[in-house]
Amino acid sequence: MNIMNSLYRLFQGRHGSLGSILLLAIILMVVMPMMFDIYRLNLAGRYLTYAFVALGLVLCWGYGGILSLGQGIFFGIGGYAMAMFLKIEASDPVSTSIQSTPGIPDFMDWNRLTELPWFWVPFNSLTLTIIAVLVLPAAFAYLIGFAMFKRRVSGVYFAIITQALAVVLTILIIGQQGYTGGINGITDLRTLHGWDIRDDSARYLLYYLNAILLIGCLLIGRWVLNCKYGRILSALRDKEDRVRFSGYDVANFKIFIFCLAAFISGIGGAMFTLQVGFMSPSFIGIVPSIEFVIFAAVGGRLSLVGGVYGALIVSFAKTMFAEAYPQLWQFLIGAVFIVVVLVLPYGLASVYGRYGRRLFTPVKDWFSKRKANSSGASAGLKEKRS
C-alpha cells in the first residue's frame, strides 16, 4: 500500500504534467519514425541531443534562476569522452599501419606524438568511458559551482564567467592539436565494440536509445521539481535572501541543480557523438552555448517539454532556412531572440498555456464527466447495498 502510495505521488505534482511527457514520447517514438526517412530521423536525433542541454537549462535557468552561458562545456565533455573511446577503437594498429607510429589516433601521429597521452588511456575501456560520460560533466560543474556559489557569485557575473570558461576550453582544444585533434575535432568514428554505428539499423537503434534517455531525463527533472527540493529551488530563484535567512544553505541547492543540468547535457553530448560520428570544438564555444539558451527560451524556460520542442523547432527551421537563404536566417534568428525576450518571456509553452489549452478542455471535460458519472454510479451502488 505504501509503495502504491509513493508510486501514485510520483505521478502527481504541479510541474510538467505527465500527459505532456506522454504526448512527447508518442511523437518521438511513433510519429517521427513514421514520418521521416532515416536521413531526416538521424537529423532529428541530432537535434534531440541538443534537447538534453535545453532541458538542463530549463532546470537551472528557468527554475533555479542560474543562467549559464557555458553549457557547451558539458555537452563537449560528454561528447569528447565518447569520441575518445571511439577514436581509439578506430585507430587499431592494422588500419593505421601506414603511420609512423601505428595504433595511435591519426592526428597524434601528424603532430609527432609517439604514444597515447595519459589522459587518453582510461578511454580504452567502454565501462570507464560510460562512467566518464556520466561523472565528468557533473564533477566539472561541481568544481565551477562550488567555487562560484560559495562565493555568492550569481546572476550576470555567473553568466559571463561561464561564457569565458567556454571560450577557454575552446581555445585550449584548438591550441593543443596533438592531444585533442584541434579545430577539426575527433573525426572518422565508425564502430562501437565492432558494431558499425553508421548503418541504418544502428541509426534507428541509436535514435530510440536517445529518445528513451531523453524521456528518462525528463522524468528525473520532473521528479526533482516536484519534490520538496523543487519548491526551495523556485523560492531561492525569486527571493534568495529570504531562503538564506530561513536557514537553508543556498549555495548547495544551486550547486546541485547546476550539476544535474551538466549531467543531463553530458549524456546529450555522448549521444551526439554516437549519432553524428564526430565531435569538434565548434559545439563548445560561445555560439553553440547561447544557441542552447535560445532553445530553452523559445520552448519556454518554465516548461520541461518546452525545451525539447524548442530544440526541435529552432534546429529544423535553421536547417531549412539556412540551406535556402543563409542570409535571411541570421536576421530571423536574431529577431526570434528579441521577440521571445520582449513579447514571450516564457516561450511557446506560454502560448499553449494561453490559447492551446482551450482546445483540450472539451476532451478533459468529457473525461472528468465520465469519471464523475462512474464514481457517482458506484457510490449509488454502495448505498443500495447498505
Binding site: L67, V156, V168, G175, I294, F331, A335, V341, L342
Partner: protein, 306 residues
Amino acid sequence: MSGFSSQELLAIFAMQGFAGVSFFSVLLLMALGLAIIYGQMRVINMAHGEFMVIGAYATYLCSITFGALPGMMDYYLFIAIPIAFGSAFIVGYIVELALIRHLYHRPLDTLLATWGLALIMQQGFRSAFGAREVSVAVPGWLRGSYRPTMMIDIPLNGIAILVLTLLVTLGVWWFLYRSRWGLRVRCTTANRDMSGAVGINTKRVDRITFALGCGIAGIAGAAFTTISSTGPTSGSLYIVDTFLVVVFGGAGSLVGTIASAFSIAQAQSLMEFFLGSSMAKVLTLLTVIGILLIRPEGLIASKVRR
C-alpha cells in the same frame, strides 16, 4: 627564458609591452562604454562589439571618400573619429528607444535580446560590406616607428592610439565627474526614484548614457582600424575580453576599469611572446576568473548602495 641576454629581455619586454598598449587602448575604449552602460543601467550589452564595428566601418567609408580627394588623405582620421562616434551614438540612441527601454530590471534578458541584436547587426554588415575583411589606408605620418635604441622599435600608430585613448578617458572622466550631465547620471545610478523626484528626467538620462557608451565603442572602432582589418564579426572577438575587463575592474569604477584593462592587456601580450597566443589567452582568462572568485566585486568596488 634562459636563451636571452638581459638586454634582449629588456627590449622584448619593452616591445611586447608596447604591443600590449595598442591592445590595451582598444580594450579600454570598449570597456569604458560598456562600464558606463552596465554600471549605470545594469544592461548587459552583448552587441557592444558590433557598435565598435559600426565605428570601424564608418572610418573605412571616410577613408574611401576622403582618400579620393587630393591632399586630404593625411587628415581624414580627424574627421573619421567624430563621424565614427556620431554614427554609433545615433544607432545606440535608436536601439535604446526601440529595445533596451523595455528591458530594465531584467538584466539576464537584456543579455539575450542584445545577442539577437548582435546577430542582426553582423548580418547587416555582411550584406552591406561583404564578408571579406576591409582595411583602411594608414596616413603617411602614422606609418613610421620610433626607435629609442637599436633593439626597441615602437610603431607610431600605437602611440597615436594611446594618445587618443587617454584623451577619450579624460573626456569621459570630465563628463561623469565634472559636468552637469554627469551629475545627473551618477544621481540616477545612486537612486533612481529619488532622482526622478527632484526633477531629473531619468529616462532621458538612460537614453543619453546608453548612446554615449555606444558612441565610445564607435571611437574604439576607429582606433581598431589602424591596428587590424575589419570584418563583420570582428566585434564578437572582443566581447568576452571586454566583459571580463568591466567585471574585473569593478563595475561603475573608472579607475578600476583602466587598471583591469591595462593588466589584462599587458599580461596577455607579455605571455604571448613566451607561450604562444592561445596559451597566453587561456592563462590570462583563467587568472582573471580566479581573482574574480576571490574578489567577486572586482578590483575597485563602487561605493554605491543597492
